[in-house]
């Protein structure tokens, strides 16, 4: 049986480099006609927050503190060579210099290509986040069962 052209990604990591991998794969696949789903969970939720910097999103003092520590897309650290936040700046400048799309450009491309973005319900509960805290392109808030149904018949990757 021919596999449907469908790619589903679980974006667990909130690291700049791993999110770059998520969005590079997602946009590349979408551009060649794949249906693409990205399920953001736990640290990965940082990538779809409306507030790109650090802000006290959360339902109580502890989750608000987490909100500030985790931050949004612009505050994502690299998994290695972070050097207290200088790492991502260095990588961003290297990417620009080599004419490679930056993480922000990839996220914009994902929106234009109509990639389906989903947020994990359980992680949102734990971190005290609401759907309103995320960019409007986030299609829905899902649990495991719904994600499995969505990803059925395609390939799934965990990053």
């Amino acid at each position: 049986m021919a596999e449907t052209k469908k790619l589903s990604l679980i974006a667990f990591s909130g690291d700049f480099d791993k999110l770059t991998a998520v969005f590079t794969l997602a946009t590349g696949a979408a551009a060649v006609g794949y249906e693409v789903n990205i399920f953001f969970t736990f640290w990965g939720l940082d990538a779809i927050k409306k507030k790109l910097g650090r802000s006290p999103l959360g339902s109580n003092w502890l989750t608000k503190l987490f909100g500030v520590m985790m931050g949004g897309l612009h505050a994502t650290p690299t998994s290695r060579f972070n050097f207290f936040g200088i790492g991502p700046k260095i990588f961003r400048s290297l990417m620009r210099k080599n004419n490679v799309a930056t993480l922000e450009e990839l996220v914009d491309a994902a929106k234009v290509l109509g990639i389906n973005l989903y947020a994990c319900e359980m992680a949102m509960h734990v971190l005290g986040l609401n759907k309103e805290d995320f960019i409007p392109e986030v299609k829905d808030v899902l649990g495991v069962a719904s994600f499995l149904k969505l990803s059925e018949g395609g390939r799934t990757l965990f990053i």
Binding site: T24, T27, G28, A30, A31, V32, G33, V100, A101, L106, A109, V112, L113
Partner: protein, 60 residues
Amino acid sequence: MTFVKTKIELAKLQEGDILEVLLAEGEPLDNVPRNAKEQGYNVLSVEHVEGSTHKVTIKK
């Protein structure tokens, strides 16, 4: 990413419009015309411009 950018530009165009893309040799030059064809676009020409730069003309 080159094809991602090409695809986004193609999406903005009307049926029958022409898009010219400047590409470097190697992966982008292999990929963009092939994917454009697979997606049902008409690749009119691939010309060498200078150095390793090539111009691909695609009709939507």
